[in-house]
Symmetry: C2
């Protein structure tokens, strides 16, 4: 059994209140007493029981991050940014990874972080109004990254503008038959970003009086394999596109795979623009839309800490700009 505050108090010949005062750096403790208590603490290797502390103070000093697909580079990068800020603040970081719809339901249904965390960072997962209400009722401070929710702060990128940027770039390169491979548009687990990007795609086409062709818009999915399969479908159209914009770099890699299989050269025969700017993109030479992923994580975490530490509960909505990174897959037709 570990030592308790009583053990320390007894051996130091003081009351437990005084020990507590020392533990919490409160003033009004004689330097000599403080030193004596600290010596005993050190000697015994005493550590205050966090659960007891937590019970009486109603603070856990922990923050939970709920994110989908711990494995995917985008989320890892954002997490990295979050971690950097959180760790520095003395808070602990609890991870809830959502891989399935059941898990999603479970987390937002039972709110297992309640009473275990002081705040919540929700990544890319949009909440329904009932879920949002439940969160609100629980009075849990929360920040959304890569999504937003009424009444809460959020950090997002302008996905409509990002997609427009991508498509404008292709149009400037002279393309008129431009396809879009979306991420999954699943109603609950699907991410709204895909809808926004589709909208940006359409806006850009319309702005240049180009037709929006249904057969050029593919729901896609996630991951390289699906990108490849979808690209093959597009290439088999009677009038195949000359450029493909994908909602993620991973899918763009799949598109490159598909072109290679068909003996086509990316950037020469078919132009490609991805989304994310993963590390691999640079290496492969993929033109893409860069999202400042780590920055998003940092900003979100800072927003939450601002709430927790400074009591600043005013919701802020921050939109971080994206940039186009030009590489080989849209090199000027030569």
């Amino acid at each position: 059994m570990a030592y308790t505050i009583k053990d320390v108090a007894r051996r130091a010949g003081v009351g437990i209140a005084t020990v507590s005062r020392v533990l919490n750096d409160s003033p009004n403790v004689l330097p000599a007493t403080r030193a004596r208590i600290l010596a005993i603490i050190d000697e015994l290797g005493y550590r205050p029981n966090q659960a007891a502390r937590q019970l009486v103070t109603a603070r856990s000093h922990a923050i939970a991050v709920v994110l989908p697909f711990l494995t995917r580079p985008f989320f890892i990068e954002v997490l990295r940014g979050i971690e950097a800020v959180i760790a520095q603040s003395g808070y602990q970081l609890i991870i809830f990874n959502v891989e399935t719809i059941e898990q999603r339901e479970h987390y937002f249904g039972t709110l297992p972080f309640l009473g275990r965390t002081d705040g919540l960072i929700i990544l890319s997962l949009p909440l329904g109004s009932i879920e949002l209400q439940r969160l609100h009722d629980a009075e849990m401070p929360a920040v959304f990254i890569d999504t937003s929710a009424p009444g809460y702060s959020s950090v997002e990128v302008d996905n409509v503008a990002g997609a427009q940027l991508a498509v404008e770039h292709l149009i400037q390169r002279g393309h008129t038959r431009i396809a879009y491979i979306s991420g999954p548009l699943h109603p609950t687990l699907g991410f709204p970003v895909n809808r926004d990007r589709k909208q940006g795609y359409e806006l850009a086409l319309l702005a240049h009086q180009l037709p929006v062709r249904a057969e050029y818009i593919r729901p896609g999915g996630d991951g390289r394999a699906i990108g490849c399969a979808t690209a093959l479908e597009l290439l088999d159209l009677p009038e195949p596109p000359t450029a493909i914009f994908t909602a993620s770099d991973e899918q763009a890699f799949g598109v490159i795979d598909a072109l290679t299989m068909r003996g086509l050269v990316p950037g020469k025969d078919v132009a490609i623009v991805g989304y994310d700017d993963l590390e691999l993109a640079r290496y492969i030479g993929l033109t893409t839309i860069r999202q400042p992923m780590e920055q998003m994580g940092r900003e979100g975490a800072e927003r939450l800490l601002d709430n927790l530490l400074n009591g600043n509960i005013e919701p802020t909505i921050q939109v971080i700009p994206v940039t186009l990174i030009e590489r080989a897959t849209t090199s000027p037709a030569s």
Copy 2:
């Protein structure tokens, strides 16, 4: 203020003990009573206070993972395996990321997870004997992955054998001037894997009566840039190596960068073998030693749960075999 067990008890017209029994699925509660209580709980949206529960049961239902460099693919992959097992068990996952020596000291000095977690998974970080003693005194169940510690279970790969495998392969390809770029050999934050791999490298050379040349062994560091810089140094030697083995894929990528800068072709002019088998390795065609990263995470987490759930405290040391993945960077000289 949130509802407490008393509120539920009062409204249901029962004692708090009965509510507690319902919460903990204990028998000996009349079905009618149970239903009534559950209805009230649902109506109120009552959630038991975890801190209180934790205080009395002395269990937190959380597990901490201490890992270095949350950003690096190797650790992410292992973490993914850990998460998959832990989440399924109902435990929560707390992340402690170590990026600096100060953080390392802080974590293993103050053991901030004490009283907050039921168990610990330590990734790649070797502990000193004082630290180990402290951990032991705290009676915290722990498992080590990619390191080991006396008295604790561990899951490792045979790094000596892995390095031998890599170098043997190069020797079979006819190389005799083989260099080794190690990971950082930092005494405290440095990882013993680098030492083991160096040993495997030397053993393989000796087994084939090849000389171990000091100028071919480079401490390197981490990341692509350092791999590149180190490779350039090697290429500038009066008698440059014809093959380079690196302690990580990331460094191997840097080596490829260096070759490209010099107009050399990887696998043709200079052979390269990496270590890890990151996703990018497949794409680039890097021959490498594959470590079953996710599996290591899973096995480690299972070991810990076996301790926590089944009380199985017998330490086990598991060594997972590595495999050589042959790709273009060691294609047969043609």
